[in-house]
Protein backbone atom coordinates (compact mmCIF):
# COMPACT_ATOMS: atom_id res chain seq x y z
CA UNK A 1 0.00 0.00 0.00
CA UNK A 2 1.13 3.54 -0.64
CA UNK A 3 -0.81 4.81 2.37
CA UNK A 4 -2.65 2.94 5.08
CA UNK A 5 -4.61 4.50 7.94
CA UNK A 6 -5.94 2.27 10.73
CA UNK A 7 -8.59 3.63 13.11
CA UNK A 8 -7.07 7.10 12.99
CA UNK A 9 -8.58 9.82 15.18
CA UNK A 10 -7.58 13.41 15.57
CA UNK A 11 -8.93 15.54 18.38
CA UNK A 12 -8.15 19.24 18.87
CA UNK A 13 -8.44 20.86 22.31
CA UNK A 14 -10.09 19.24 25.29
CA UNK A 15 -13.12 19.58 27.57
CA UNK A 16 -15.72 22.06 26.31
CA UNK A 17 -13.58 23.12 23.33
CA UNK A 18 -12.86 19.54 22.25
CA UNK A 19 -13.22 19.14 18.47
CA UNK A 20 -13.07 15.77 16.75
CA UNK A 21 -11.54 16.33 13.31
CA UNK A 22 -11.15 12.63 12.42
CA UNK A 23 -12.97 9.74 14.04
CA UNK A 24 -11.64 6.19 13.74
CA UNK A 25 -10.80 6.63 10.06
CA UNK A 26 -9.40 3.65 8.16
CA UNK A 27 -8.21 3.87 4.58
CA UNK A 28 -5.87 1.92 2.31
CA UNK A 29 -4.57 3.48 -0.89
CA UNK A 30 -2.61 1.52 -3.48
CA UNK A 31 0.34 3.04 -5.40
CA UNK A 32 -0.75 5.09 -8.42
CA UNK A 33 -4.25 5.80 -7.17
CA UNK A 34 -5.70 9.29 -7.36
CA UNK A 35 -7.77 9.94 -4.24
CA UNK A 36 -10.01 13.01 -4.10
CA UNK A 37 -11.39 14.04 -0.70
CA UNK A 38 -14.50 16.20 -0.82
CA UNK A 39 -16.70 17.62 1.87
CA UNK A 40 -17.76 20.81 3.64
CA UNK A 41 -15.38 23.01 5.61
CA UNK A 42 -14.48 21.45 8.95
CA UNK A 43 -15.21 17.92 7.74
CA UNK A 44 -11.61 16.85 8.34
CA UNK A 45 -10.21 16.86 4.78
CA UNK A 46 -7.18 18.98 5.51
CA UNK A 47 -6.49 17.15 8.77
CA UNK A 48 -6.49 13.84 6.92
CA UNK A 49 -4.29 15.30 4.21
CA UNK A 50 -1.81 16.69 6.75
CA UNK A 51 -1.60 13.30 8.47
CA UNK A 52 -0.96 11.56 5.14
CA UNK A 53 1.65 14.21 4.33
CA UNK A 54 3.30 13.53 7.73
CA UNK A 55 2.85 17.19 8.68
CA UNK A 56 0.59 16.23 11.58
CA UNK A 57 0.26 13.23 13.89
CA UNK A 58 -3.01 11.57 14.86
CA UNK A 59 -4.30 11.52 18.43
CA UNK A 60 -4.73 7.76 18.10
CA UNK A 61 -4.47 5.07 15.43
CA UNK A 62 -1.77 3.91 13.06
CA UNK A 63 -0.48 5.52 9.87
CA UNK A 64 1.77 3.75 7.39
CA UNK A 65 3.19 5.66 4.46
CA UNK A 66 4.99 3.43 1.91
CA UNK A 67 4.86 0.73 4.58
CA UNK A 68 6.64 2.87 7.18
CA UNK A 69 5.06 3.70 10.55
CA UNK A 70 5.18 7.51 10.54
CA UNK A 71 3.27 8.05 13.80
CA UNK A 72 6.17 7.08 15.99
CA UNK A 73 8.90 8.45 13.78
CA UNK A 74 11.07 11.21 15.40
CA UNK A 75 10.63 14.67 13.88
CA UNK A 76 14.15 14.77 12.37
CA UNK A 77 13.63 11.46 10.56
CA UNK A 78 10.21 12.57 9.48
CA UNK A 79 11.68 15.69 7.82
CA UNK A 80 14.00 13.48 5.73
CA UNK A 81 11.18 11.04 4.98
CA UNK A 82 8.95 13.90 3.80
CA UNK A 83 11.72 15.39 1.65
CA UNK A 84 12.22 12.12 -0.22
CA UNK A 85 8.70 10.75 -0.41
CA UNK A 86 6.06 13.46 -0.34
CA UNK A 87 5.35 16.37 -2.63
CA UNK A 88 3.01 18.96 -1.11
CA UNK A 89 0.95 21.69 -2.74
CA UNK A 90 -1.07 24.33 -0.85
CA UNK A 91 -3.94 26.35 -2.20
CA UNK A 92 -1.71 29.44 -2.30
CA UNK A 93 1.66 30.77 -1.15
CA UNK A 94 3.53 27.81 -2.54
CA UNK A 95 6.66 29.62 -3.67
CA UNK A 96 9.38 31.42 -1.74
CA UNK A 97 8.86 35.04 -2.87
CA UNK A 98 12.50 36.04 -3.30
CA UNK A 99 13.55 33.00 -5.35
CA UNK A 100 12.96 32.60 -9.09
CA UNK A 101 10.71 29.82 -10.40
CA UNK A 102 13.69 27.57 -11.17
CA UNK A 103 15.30 28.25 -7.79
CA UNK A 104 12.02 27.39 -6.06
CA UNK A 105 11.78 24.14 -8.00
CA UNK A 106 15.42 23.28 -7.27
CA UNK A 107 15.00 23.85 -3.52
CA UNK A 108 14.04 20.27 -2.47
CA UNK A 109 16.85 18.87 -4.63
CA UNK A 110 19.43 21.15 -3.02
CA UNK A 111 18.06 20.19 0.40
CA UNK A 112 18.61 16.58 -0.63
CA UNK A 113 22.27 17.36 -1.33
CA UNK A 114 22.16 17.57 -5.14
CA UNK A 115 24.71 19.98 -6.64
CA UNK A 116 23.19 23.37 -7.44
CA UNK A 117 23.94 23.18 -11.21
CA UNK A 118 22.32 19.75 -11.55
CA UNK A 119 19.39 20.80 -9.37
CA UNK A 120 18.79 23.84 -11.58
CA UNK A 121 19.12 21.68 -14.72
CA UNK A 122 16.41 19.35 -13.44
CA UNK A 123 14.33 22.33 -12.30
CA UNK A 124 14.32 23.70 -15.87
CA UNK A 125 13.13 20.36 -17.27
CA UNK A 126 10.43 20.18 -14.58
CA UNK A 127 9.30 23.66 -15.57
CA UNK A 128 9.21 22.43 -19.18
CA UNK A 129 7.04 19.55 -17.99
CA UNK A 130 4.51 21.95 -16.47
CA UNK A 131 4.66 24.27 -19.50
CA UNK A 132 6.65 27.03 -17.82
CA UNK A 133 9.95 26.73 -19.65
CA UNK A 134 9.91 30.47 -20.41
CA UNK A 135 9.21 31.45 -16.81
CA UNK A 136 12.33 29.92 -15.24
CA UNK A 137 13.83 33.30 -14.31
CA UNK A 138 10.60 34.90 -13.10
CA UNK A 139 9.87 35.65 -9.46
CA UNK A 140 6.48 34.54 -8.02
CA UNK A 141 5.12 38.09 -8.04
CA UNK A 142 5.83 38.24 -11.79
CA UNK A 143 3.71 35.12 -12.40
CA UNK A 144 -0.08 34.59 -12.49
CA UNK A 145 -1.68 32.34 -9.84
CA UNK A 146 -2.06 29.60 -12.45
CA UNK A 147 1.64 29.79 -13.31
CA UNK A 148 2.54 29.79 -9.61
CA UNK A 149 0.50 26.63 -9.00
CA UNK A 150 2.13 24.93 -11.99
CA UNK A 151 5.58 25.92 -10.71
CA UNK A 152 4.58 24.51 -7.32
CA UNK A 153 3.62 21.20 -8.99
CA UNK A 154 7.08 21.17 -10.61
CA UNK A 155 8.65 21.74 -7.20
CA UNK A 156 6.48 19.03 -5.62
CA UNK A 157 7.80 16.58 -8.23
CA UNK A 158 11.46 17.56 -7.88
CA UNK A 159 12.56 14.66 -5.68
CA UNK A 160 10.42 12.06 -7.55
CA UNK A 161 8.09 11.60 -4.56
CA UNK A 162 5.87 8.50 -4.78
CA UNK A 163 3.10 10.51 -3.10
CA UNK A 164 1.70 13.89 -4.10
CA UNK A 165 -0.56 15.72 -1.62
CA UNK A 166 -2.60 18.72 -2.81
CA UNK A 167 -4.75 20.91 -0.55
CA UNK A 168 -7.40 22.86 -2.50
CA UNK A 169 -5.06 23.27 -5.48
CA UNK A 170 -7.64 24.95 -7.73
CA UNK A 171 -9.47 27.18 -5.24
CA UNK A 172 -7.58 30.34 -6.23
CA UNK A 173 -7.64 29.65 -9.98
CA UNK A 174 -10.08 30.59 -12.72
CA UNK A 175 -11.82 27.82 -14.67
CA UNK A 176 -9.23 27.60 -17.47
CA UNK A 177 -6.24 27.57 -15.16
CA UNK A 178 -7.97 25.07 -12.87
CA UNK A 179 -8.68 22.77 -15.82
CA UNK A 180 -5.07 23.04 -17.05
CA UNK A 181 -3.71 22.26 -13.59
CA UNK A 182 -5.98 19.22 -13.24
CA UNK A 183 -4.88 18.00 -16.68
CA UNK A 184 -1.27 18.30 -15.56
CA UNK A 185 -1.88 16.42 -12.30
CA UNK A 186 -3.76 13.69 -14.18
CA UNK A 187 -0.85 13.31 -16.61
CA UNK A 188 1.67 13.16 -13.78
CA UNK A 189 -0.48 10.55 -12.02
CA UNK A 190 -0.66 8.48 -15.18
CA UNK A 191 2.95 8.76 -16.40
CA UNK A 192 4.86 9.05 -13.11
CA UNK A 193 2.58 6.49 -11.41
CA UNK A 194 2.47 8.92 -8.48
CA UNK A 195 -0.15 8.34 -5.79
CA UNK A 196 -2.19 11.54 -5.57
CA UNK A 197 -4.25 12.86 -2.62
CA UNK A 198 -6.37 15.94 -3.19
CA UNK A 199 -8.64 17.75 -0.74
CA UNK A 200 -11.12 20.03 -2.49
CA UNK A 201 -14.48 21.77 -2.56
CA UNK A 202 -14.34 21.87 -6.35
CA UNK A 203 -16.49 19.17 -7.94
CA UNK A 204 -14.44 19.48 -11.16
CA UNK A 205 -11.46 17.96 -9.38
CA UNK A 206 -13.37 14.70 -9.04
CA UNK A 207 -12.77 14.25 -12.81
CA UNK A 208 -9.23 13.06 -12.13
CA UNK A 209 -10.12 10.76 -9.21
CA UNK A 210 -9.73 7.01 -9.27
CA UNK A 211 -11.31 7.09 -5.81
CA UNK A 212 -13.70 9.73 -4.60
CA UNK A 213 -14.20 10.03 -0.85
CA UNK A 214 -16.73 12.28 0.85
CA UNK A 215 -16.02 13.47 4.35
CA UNK A 216 -18.43 14.63 7.01
CA UNK A 217 -17.75 15.18 10.72
CA UNK A 218 -14.45 13.37 10.56
CA UNK A 219 -15.78 10.23 8.88
CA UNK A 220 -15.21 8.84 5.36
CA UNK A 221 -17.91 7.88 2.87
CA UNK A 222 -16.48 6.45 -0.33
CA UNK A 223 -18.31 6.83 -3.63
CA UNK A 224 -18.83 3.52 -5.39
CA UNK A 225 -17.72 4.84 -8.75
CA UNK A 226 -15.95 8.20 -9.25
CA UNK A 227 -17.37 10.33 -12.06
CA UNK A 228 -14.17 10.05 -14.07
CA UNK A 229 -14.25 12.01 -17.27
CA UNK A 230 -11.44 12.42 -19.78
CA UNK A 231 -9.54 15.68 -19.59
CA UNK A 232 -7.67 17.07 -22.53
CA UNK A 233 -4.36 16.22 -20.95
CA UNK A 234 -1.03 17.05 -22.47
CA UNK A 235 0.35 13.55 -22.20
CA UNK A 236 2.79 14.01 -25.04
CA UNK A 237 4.59 16.96 -23.42
CA UNK A 238 4.66 15.36 -19.98
CA UNK A 239 5.90 12.06 -21.40
CA UNK A 240 8.71 13.80 -23.32
CA UNK A 241 9.80 15.70 -20.24
CA UNK A 242 9.54 12.50 -18.19
CA UNK A 243 12.18 10.85 -20.41
CA UNK A 244 14.51 13.82 -19.98
CA UNK A 245 13.96 13.72 -16.25
CA UNK A 246 14.93 10.06 -16.06
CA UNK A 247 18.25 10.83 -17.75
CA UNK A 248 18.95 13.72 -15.39
CA UNK A 249 18.01 11.54 -12.42
CA UNK A 250 20.63 9.02 -13.55
CA UNK A 251 23.20 11.83 -13.54
CA UNK A 252 22.08 12.98 -10.11
CA UNK A 253 21.76 9.47 -8.74
CA UNK A 254 18.14 9.81 -7.68
Amino acid sequence: MAVELRRVSKVYGNGAVRTVALEEVSLAVAPGESVVLMGPSGSGKTTLLNIVATLDRPTSGEVYVLGVDVVNMPEKKLEKFRLRNIGYLFQSYNLVPYLTAEQNVALPLIALGVKKELALLKARVLLELVGLEKAAGLYPQQMSSGMQQRAAVARALANNPPILVLDEPTSNLDADNASNLLALIAAVNRIFKTTVFIATHDAEVARIATRLIYMRSGRLYEAAEPPRRELKIELERVAAAYEKLRRIDELIGL
Binding site: K76, L83, K116
Partner: protein, 374 residues
Protein backbone atom coordinates in the same frame (compact mmCIF):
# COMPACT_ATOMS: atom_id res chain seq x y z
CA UNK B 1 20.43 30.70 -1.90
CA UNK B 2 17.75 31.27 0.77
CA UNK B 3 20.02 33.45 2.89
CA UNK B 4 21.11 35.72 0.04
CA UNK B 5 17.59 35.92 -1.36
CA UNK B 6 16.15 37.09 1.95
CA UNK B 7 19.00 39.55 2.54
CA UNK B 8 18.25 41.15 -0.85
CA UNK B 9 14.50 41.26 -0.28
CA UNK B 10 14.85 42.99 3.10
CA UNK B 11 17.98 44.96 2.24
CA UNK B 12 17.06 48.23 3.98
CA UNK B 13 16.04 46.54 7.23
CA UNK B 14 19.20 44.46 7.35
CA UNK B 15 21.30 47.47 6.40
CA UNK B 16 19.92 49.41 9.37
CA UNK B 17 20.59 46.43 11.65
CA UNK B 18 24.15 46.25 10.33
CA UNK B 19 24.51 49.98 11.01
CA UNK B 20 23.36 49.47 14.63
CA UNK B 21 25.87 46.65 15.11
CA UNK B 22 28.57 48.52 13.18
CA UNK B 23 28.23 51.66 15.34
CA UNK B 24 28.56 49.60 18.53
CA UNK B 25 31.58 47.79 17.11
CA UNK B 26 33.08 51.06 15.86
CA UNK B 27 32.83 52.55 19.35
CA UNK B 28 34.51 49.47 20.80
CA UNK B 29 37.34 49.57 18.25
CA UNK B 30 37.79 53.34 18.56
CA UNK B 31 38.01 53.24 22.35
CA UNK B 32 40.34 50.23 22.24
CA UNK B 33 42.60 51.92 19.67
CA UNK B 34 42.75 55.15 21.69
CA UNK B 35 43.38 53.24 24.92
CA UNK B 36 46.11 51.09 23.32
CA UNK B 37 47.81 54.09 21.74
CA UNK B 38 47.68 56.14 24.93
CA UNK B 39 48.95 53.29 27.10
CA UNK B 40 51.84 52.51 24.73
CA UNK B 41 52.72 56.18 24.48
CA UNK B 42 52.59 56.77 28.23
CA UNK B 43 54.67 53.67 28.98
CA UNK B 44 57.22 54.54 26.33
CA UNK B 45 57.48 58.11 27.57
CA UNK B 46 57.71 57.04 31.17
CA UNK B 47 60.59 54.83 30.28
CA UNK B 48 62.29 57.79 28.62
CA UNK B 49 61.65 60.08 31.58
CA UNK B 50 62.56 57.52 34.13
CA UNK B 51 65.13 55.32 32.41
CA UNK B 52 66.06 53.34 35.48
CA UNK B 53 65.11 50.11 37.17
CA UNK B 54 64.86 51.62 40.64
CA UNK B 55 64.37 55.13 41.97
CA UNK B 56 65.04 56.16 45.53
CA UNK B 57 63.45 59.42 46.61
CA UNK B 58 63.50 61.47 49.76
CA UNK B 59 61.37 64.51 50.64
CA UNK B 60 64.47 66.22 52.02
CA UNK B 61 67.73 66.71 50.14
CA UNK B 62 69.62 64.34 52.41
CA UNK B 63 70.96 61.49 50.25
CA UNK B 64 74.77 61.88 50.17
CA UNK B 65 76.35 62.14 46.71
CA UNK B 66 78.91 59.61 47.97
CA UNK B 67 76.19 56.99 48.10
CA UNK B 68 75.64 57.53 44.37
CA UNK B 69 79.40 57.05 43.78
CA UNK B 70 79.32 53.86 45.86
CA UNK B 71 76.35 52.55 43.93
CA UNK B 72 78.15 53.25 40.64
CA UNK B 73 80.99 51.03 41.78
CA UNK B 74 78.65 48.15 42.65
CA UNK B 75 79.20 45.34 40.10
CA UNK B 76 75.43 44.78 39.80
CA UNK B 77 74.82 48.42 38.88
CA UNK B 78 75.30 49.65 35.34
CA UNK B 79 74.44 53.26 36.16
CA UNK B 80 73.40 55.50 39.06
CA UNK B 81 72.46 59.16 38.81
CA UNK B 82 71.82 61.44 41.73
CA UNK B 83 69.42 64.32 41.07
CA UNK B 84 67.41 66.93 42.95
CA UNK B 85 63.69 67.25 42.42
CA UNK B 86 61.98 70.14 44.16
CA UNK B 87 59.19 72.62 43.59
CA UNK B 88 59.00 76.36 43.28
CA UNK B 89 56.77 79.16 42.03
CA UNK B 90 57.19 81.38 38.97
CA UNK B 91 54.66 84.22 38.67
CA UNK B 92 52.12 82.27 40.73
CA UNK B 93 52.65 79.10 38.69
CA UNK B 94 53.99 75.98 40.43
CA UNK B 95 57.08 74.58 38.71
CA UNK B 96 59.16 71.45 39.21
CA UNK B 97 62.87 72.13 39.42
CA UNK B 98 65.13 69.25 38.47
CA UNK B 99 68.86 69.37 38.94
CA UNK B 100 70.71 66.87 36.77
CA UNK B 101 74.44 66.25 36.37
CA UNK B 102 75.67 67.96 33.22
CA UNK B 103 78.00 65.08 32.30
CA UNK B 104 75.01 62.74 31.92
CA UNK B 105 72.47 65.15 30.45
CA UNK B 106 71.83 62.80 27.47
CA UNK B 107 70.66 60.09 29.88
CA UNK B 108 67.49 62.07 30.60
CA UNK B 109 66.44 62.25 26.93
CA UNK B 110 65.20 65.83 27.05
CA UNK B 111 62.91 66.48 24.09
CA UNK B 112 64.17 69.93 22.98
CA UNK B 113 61.76 72.07 21.03
CA UNK B 114 64.14 74.99 20.61
CA UNK B 115 67.45 76.29 21.97
CA UNK B 116 70.04 74.03 23.59
CA UNK B 117 70.80 72.09 26.76
CA UNK B 118 72.36 73.92 29.74
CA UNK B 119 76.12 73.86 29.75
CA UNK B 120 76.94 75.93 32.82
CA UNK B 121 75.47 77.12 36.11
CA UNK B 122 72.45 79.40 35.96
CA UNK B 123 71.29 78.06 32.60
CA UNK B 124 68.03 76.15 32.31
CA UNK B 125 65.84 74.24 29.91
CA UNK B 126 62.16 74.88 30.63
CA UNK B 127 59.02 73.12 29.64
CA UNK B 128 56.99 74.70 26.84
CA UNK B 129 54.04 75.10 29.23
CA UNK B 130 55.91 77.94 30.95
CA UNK B 131 55.73 80.01 27.72
CA UNK B 132 59.32 81.17 28.06
CA UNK B 133 61.77 81.62 25.16
CA UNK B 134 65.54 81.10 25.04
CA UNK B 135 67.17 84.26 26.36
CA UNK B 136 64.46 84.94 28.94
CA UNK B 137 65.31 85.15 32.59
CA UNK B 138 63.12 83.46 35.18
CA UNK B 139 63.00 84.07 38.90
CA UNK B 140 61.85 81.13 40.96
CA UNK B 141 60.77 81.15 44.58
CA UNK B 142 61.81 77.85 46.15
CA UNK B 143 60.25 76.50 49.33
CA UNK B 144 61.97 73.81 51.30
CA UNK B 145 61.84 72.81 54.93
CA UNK B 146 65.43 71.67 54.56
CA UNK B 147 66.37 75.20 53.58
CA UNK B 148 64.46 76.62 56.47
CA UNK B 149 62.02 78.58 54.36
CA UNK B 150 61.97 80.45 51.07
CA UNK B 151 64.82 81.14 48.69
CA UNK B 152 64.90 82.87 45.31
CA UNK B 153 66.94 81.63 42.37
CA UNK B 154 67.28 83.15 38.92
CA UNK B 155 67.92 81.15 35.76
CA UNK B 156 68.55 82.05 32.16
CA UNK B 157 66.46 80.05 29.72
CA UNK B 158 68.67 78.46 27.02
CA UNK B 159 66.25 75.84 25.73
CA UNK B 160 62.58 74.92 25.66
CA UNK B 161 61.52 71.29 25.97
CA UNK B 162 58.29 69.63 24.90
CA UNK B 163 55.93 68.68 27.71
CA UNK B 164 56.16 65.11 28.97
CA UNK B 165 53.50 62.99 27.24
CA UNK B 166 52.99 66.13 25.14
CA UNK B 167 50.84 67.47 27.92
CA UNK B 168 47.68 65.75 26.73
CA UNK B 169 46.72 64.97 30.28
CA UNK B 170 46.85 67.93 32.61
CA UNK B 171 48.39 65.87 35.40
CA UNK B 172 51.52 65.37 33.32
CA UNK B 173 52.05 69.11 32.85
CA UNK B 174 54.88 69.47 35.34
CA UNK B 175 56.20 72.91 34.28
CA UNK B 176 59.72 71.56 34.45
CA UNK B 177 62.80 73.69 34.92
CA UNK B 178 65.93 71.60 34.33
CA UNK B 179 69.18 73.03 35.66
CA UNK B 180 72.72 71.70 36.32
CA UNK B 181 72.83 69.69 39.55
CA UNK B 182 75.96 71.18 41.11
CA UNK B 183 74.68 74.72 40.51
CA UNK B 184 71.33 73.89 42.12
CA UNK B 185 73.07 72.28 45.11
CA UNK B 186 75.05 75.46 45.53
CA UNK B 187 72.03 77.75 45.12
CA UNK B 188 69.97 75.77 47.61
CA UNK B 189 72.87 75.31 50.02
CA UNK B 190 72.30 71.59 49.84
CA UNK B 191 75.96 70.65 49.77
CA UNK B 192 76.91 67.27 48.31
CA UNK B 193 73.42 65.90 48.74
CA UNK B 194 70.61 64.90 46.39
CA UNK B 195 67.03 63.77 47.05
CA UNK B 196 66.59 61.19 44.28
CA UNK B 197 68.80 58.46 42.86
CA UNK B 198 68.07 56.65 39.58
CA UNK B 199 69.65 53.20 39.48
CA UNK B 200 69.99 50.98 36.42
CA UNK B 201 70.99 47.37 37.02
CA UNK B 202 72.96 45.00 34.81
CA UNK B 203 70.38 42.26 35.19
CA UNK B 204 66.61 42.50 35.82
CA UNK B 205 67.07 39.66 38.31
CA UNK B 206 68.86 42.08 40.64
CA UNK B 207 65.87 44.42 40.87
CA UNK B 208 64.01 42.70 43.71
CA UNK B 209 66.99 42.06 46.03
CA UNK B 210 68.33 45.56 45.36
CA UNK B 211 64.93 47.09 46.02
CA UNK B 212 64.61 45.20 49.32
CA UNK B 213 68.11 46.16 50.45
CA UNK B 214 67.53 49.86 49.67
CA UNK B 215 64.14 49.77 51.42
CA UNK B 216 65.64 48.24 54.56
CA UNK B 217 68.75 50.45 54.58
CA UNK B 218 67.08 53.81 53.89
CA UNK B 219 63.88 53.59 55.86
CA UNK B 220 63.06 57.32 55.45
CA UNK B 221 63.36 57.19 51.68
CA UNK B 222 60.75 56.03 49.21
CA UNK B 223 61.96 53.35 46.82
CA UNK B 224 60.15 52.61 43.54
CA UNK B 225 60.82 50.12 40.80
CA UNK B 226 60.20 50.83 37.14
CA UNK B 227 57.90 47.83 37.06
CA UNK B 228 55.80 49.15 39.97
CA UNK B 229 55.50 52.49 38.23
CA UNK B 230 54.38 50.82 35.00
CA UNK B 231 51.95 48.70 37.02
CA UNK B 232 50.47 51.87 38.45
CA UNK B 233 50.10 53.19 34.92
CA UNK B 234 48.54 49.88 33.91
CA UNK B 235 46.09 50.09 36.78
CA UNK B 236 45.06 53.57 35.67
CA UNK B 237 44.56 52.28 32.13
CA UNK B 238 42.74 49.19 33.32
CA UNK B 239 40.29 51.44 35.13
CA UNK B 240 40.00 53.57 31.99
CA UNK B 241 39.48 50.42 29.90
CA UNK B 242 36.75 49.30 32.25
CA UNK B 243 34.90 52.56 31.68
CA UNK B 244 35.45 52.19 27.91
CA UNK B 245 34.22 48.60 28.08
CA UNK B 246 31.04 49.64 29.88
CA UNK B 247 30.37 52.33 27.25
CA UNK B 248 31.04 49.85 24.40
CA UNK B 249 28.96 47.15 26.10
CA UNK B 250 26.02 49.55 26.35
CA UNK B 251 26.29 50.33 22.62
CA UNK B 252 26.65 46.65 21.75
CA UNK B 253 23.71 45.70 23.98
CA UNK B 254 21.59 48.27 22.12
CA UNK B 255 22.73 46.66 18.86
CA UNK B 256 21.81 43.21 20.20
CA UNK B 257 18.34 44.44 21.18
CA UNK B 258 17.92 45.97 17.70
CA UNK B 259 19.01 42.68 16.11
CA UNK B 260 16.58 40.79 18.34
CA UNK B 261 13.71 43.09 17.37
CA UNK B 262 14.52 42.92 13.66
CA UNK B 263 15.02 39.15 13.66
CA UNK B 264 11.81 38.62 15.66
CA UNK B 265 9.81 40.71 13.19
CA UNK B 266 11.52 39.01 10.25
CA UNK B 267 10.94 35.54 11.69
CA UNK B 268 7.24 36.37 12.25
CA UNK B 269 6.93 37.72 8.70
CA UNK B 270 8.64 34.66 7.30
CA UNK B 271 6.56 32.12 9.23
CA UNK B 272 4.57 31.25 6.09
CA UNK B 273 7.78 30.76 4.20
CA UNK B 274 9.27 28.61 6.97
CA UNK B 275 6.05 26.58 7.12
CA UNK B 276 6.19 26.07 3.38
CA UNK B 277 9.84 25.06 3.49
CA UNK B 278 9.20 22.64 6.35
CA UNK B 279 6.21 21.17 4.51
CA UNK B 280 8.36 20.73 1.41
CA UNK B 281 10.76 18.73 3.54
CA UNK B 282 13.51 21.27 4.20
CA UNK B 283 14.80 20.43 7.66
CA UNK B 284 14.55 22.82 10.61
CA UNK B 285 18.32 22.79 10.87
CA UNK B 286 18.67 23.81 7.18
CA UNK B 287 16.24 26.68 7.77
CA UNK B 288 18.02 27.76 10.95
CA UNK B 289 21.37 27.52 9.17
CA UNK B 290 20.10 29.70 6.32
CA UNK B 291 18.91 32.36 8.79
CA UNK B 292 22.14 32.01 10.78
CA UNK B 293 24.12 32.52 7.55
CA UNK B 294 22.17 35.75 6.95
CA UNK B 295 23.01 36.89 10.49
CA UNK B 296 26.65 35.87 10.06
CA UNK B 297 26.96 37.72 6.72
CA UNK B 298 25.34 40.73 8.34
CA UNK B 299 27.69 40.62 11.32
CA UNK B 300 30.83 40.15 9.19
CA UNK B 301 29.87 43.17 7.08
CA UNK B 302 29.01 45.16 10.22
CA UNK B 303 32.23 44.00 11.93
CA UNK B 304 34.53 45.02 9.06
CA UNK B 305 32.70 48.32 8.55
CA UNK B 306 32.73 48.91 12.33
CA UNK B 307 36.47 48.22 12.57
CA UNK B 308 37.21 50.65 9.74
CA UNK B 309 34.79 53.26 11.09
CA UNK B 310 36.19 52.89 14.62
CA UNK B 311 39.81 53.21 13.56
CA UNK B 312 39.30 56.11 11.17
CA UNK B 313 36.85 57.67 13.61
CA UNK B 314 39.47 57.61 16.37
CA UNK B 315 42.04 59.11 14.00
CA UNK B 316 39.57 61.79 12.95
CA UNK B 317 38.66 62.65 16.55
CA UNK B 318 42.38 62.93 17.32
CA UNK B 319 42.84 65.36 14.41
CA UNK B 320 39.79 67.38 15.51
CA UNK B 321 41.11 67.58 19.08
CA UNK B 322 44.53 68.68 17.84
CA UNK B 323 42.79 71.21 15.59
CA UNK B 324 40.93 72.52 18.64
CA UNK B 325 44.25 73.05 20.40
CA UNK B 326 44.06 70.00 22.65
CA UNK B 327 47.47 68.34 22.77
CA UNK B 328 46.44 64.78 21.94
CA UNK B 329 49.14 63.74 19.53
CA UNK B 330 49.23 60.02 20.38
CA UNK B 331 50.11 57.65 17.53
CA UNK B 332 46.96 55.58 16.75
CA UNK B 333 48.04 52.47 14.86
CA UNK B 334 45.90 49.89 13.14
CA UNK B 335 46.28 46.34 14.48
CA UNK B 336 44.87 43.09 13.06
CA UNK B 337 43.62 42.47 16.59
CA UNK B 338 41.01 45.19 16.00
CA UNK B 339 39.53 43.24 13.06
CA UNK B 340 39.36 40.11 15.22
CA UNK B 341 37.84 42.12 18.08
CA UNK B 342 35.30 43.76 15.75
CA UNK B 343 34.32 40.48 14.06
CA UNK B 344 33.95 38.56 17.29
CA UNK B 345 32.00 41.40 18.93
CA UNK B 346 29.64 41.82 15.96
CA UNK B 347 29.15 38.06 15.58
CA UNK B 348 28.45 37.71 19.31
CA UNK B 349 26.00 40.63 19.26
CA UNK B 350 24.20 39.40 16.14
CA UNK B 351 23.93 35.82 17.37
CA UNK B 352 22.85 36.95 20.84
CA UNK B 353 20.13 39.05 19.23
CA UNK B 354 19.07 36.34 16.78
CA UNK B 355 19.32 33.31 19.09
CA UNK B 356 15.82 33.50 20.54
CA UNK B 357 13.98 34.06 17.20
CA UNK B 358 16.10 31.28 15.62
CA UNK B 359 15.23 28.91 18.45
CA UNK B 360 11.53 29.68 18.02
CA UNK B 361 11.76 28.98 14.28
CA UNK B 362 13.57 25.71 14.87
CA UNK B 363 11.02 24.55 17.43
CA UNK B 364 7.91 25.24 15.36
CA UNK B 365 6.36 22.22 13.70
CA UNK B 366 5.17 22.79 10.11
CA UNK B 367 1.55 22.10 11.02
CA UNK B 368 1.67 24.78 13.75
CA UNK B 369 2.89 27.31 11.21
CA UNK B 370 0.37 26.25 8.56
CA UNK B 371 -2.48 26.54 11.06
CA UNK B 372 -1.43 30.13 11.82
CA UNK B 373 -2.67 31.38 8.47
CA UNK B 374 -5.37 28.87 7.74
Amino acid sequence: MLALGDLKSRALRYLLTAVAIGVGVALLVALTAVSDATRAYVEQTLYKVYPADIMMYSDSINIPQRLVDLLQRNPAVSGAEGIIITTGVVNGQVVSIVGIPLRDVDYFAIDLKEGRLPSSGGEAVVEESLAARPGDTITIKVYSSALGGERTITVKVVGVMRSFLRGFIGAFRLNLVVVPLDWLQEELGAGPFVNAVLITLRDKGYVTPFYKTLKETFRDAQVYTQEALLNTVSQVFNALNFVFTVISAAALATAAVTTFAVMSITARERLREFGLLKAVGISSSDIVVSVAVEVALLSVAAGIAGAALGFYGATLVKQILIGMGVNFDVPIEFKLRYIALALSASLAVALAGAASPLYRVAKLRPIEILQLWR
